[in-house]
Symmetry: C2
Subunit: 260 residues, 2 copies
Amino acid sequence: MVPPDRTALVSLAVRLAEAARPLILEHYRSALAVERKGDASPVTIADRAAEAAMRTLIEAAFPDHGILGEEYGTVRGDARYVWVLDPIDGTKAFITGKPLFGTLIACCEDGVPVVGVIDMPALNERWVGADDRGATLDGRPVHARACPDLADALMYSTSPDMFRGVDADRHRALAGHVRHALYGADCYAYALVAGGWSDLVVEASLQPYDYCACAAVIHAAGGAMTDWQGRPIRIDSGGRVLAAGDPALIAAAVSRLQGL
Amino acid sequence: MVPPDRTALVSLAVRLAEAARPLILEHYRSALAVERKGDASPVTIADRAAEAAMRTLIEAAFPDHGILGEEYGTVRGDARYVWVLDPIDGTKAFITGKPLFGTLIACCEDGVPVVGVIDMPALNERWVGADDRGATLDGRPVHARACPDLADALMYSTSPDMFRGVDADRHRALAGHVRHALYGADCYAYALVAGGWSDLVVEASLQPYDYCACAAVIHAAGGAMTDWQGRPIRIDSGGRVLAAGDPALIAAAVSRLQGL
């Protein structure tokens, strides 16, 4: 099935990233006061300014589309098209001066992420993917790589602390069967899979704004992104995700995660 | 006590970094075959080429100085001045396309790291420190920040898997008392402390070439770097290190690590 033309959606997604980037970089590595939310994740002025700017652009371009954002919640969540926004994914990276934080922008159609941007302000990299075209890094095509065997896979997770209770055991069961289990890349881990340099990401305790954009980019690059049961990512997939550059890796990873 | 002038040592250290960088970037994000050593750490052609180039420059400039390098071992290890080299710290970051790998260059005097460079090829950042001057990032002075309370500290370690046996319990004991325990920065974690954006690094299973350069940069920035007993880093400190932007943090961290 040929997907509809996504040009208008991709164009807006890129404009959102362009609008967010300077608002975020303005506060990076500054002596910015850090607030705390109920979940103790650091939230910055930059986070809010960037999301507000993106919401304004979406409302102007597609007033009937829905928006789900980390900072300002959901409007028109039952619309056919819903934009899913995380202005700063990796706020802990951001506040520690580590350049691996990113801006995540997705557009979901009937709940499926069809357009995604992973924008890396401090690295000056923009990853874009959509289901009617491939994925690109700063305009150049990127492709996920083949890696059919779990034993060869280079795998990232942001932190071991994101796996709670039995999820920690499941993560360890999977980590014991890959070549290297690595940490600390936030959304950039998904970009590295899309770029063909890493093979697998396993994460938990995520929100839709953490995974929708990544799923669109990974799929556009030829990879696969699913929940821990191997079902393709939707906006309501829940917090446990798997991303693989080689779709053949998903079944092996699911089997290890569910083997307990 | 005023330390001797380090201009000649700093000048050579910077030349080493300049020589290593293009040899490393040439192979970054390429389809480079990865070899395995006995310890299963990935070693690349880039690693070897960069260390060989640095050794040639040291031999030409200071033929009586010692050299301890990750790839080619030790010569004149009992010399008063010993250069300690890790061409690619963070080889797993390197092979996964993650830009946080670095080149570590130290010069030790009587076993004490007095000059250090943390060069970040993919980030295009060069951190330099010496005991007769401050620390700089690309020539601009940087300073570690005050953080006297462990409860406020932002702490990095490369991976939870670097802590083995009782060290894992000790790391958890410390991690439970900081504001955030984060992962995945390799040598860049030390640079972030020197820059005043992070507060603490705790690591284990390291080699002298992993920590000597970091110690010189951290000290020059006003921080402290010690072993897990709080003793200042020397070339033979062993694999367990602590780095703090605020020297007052060291005692509190040591106390948590030794509290088991």
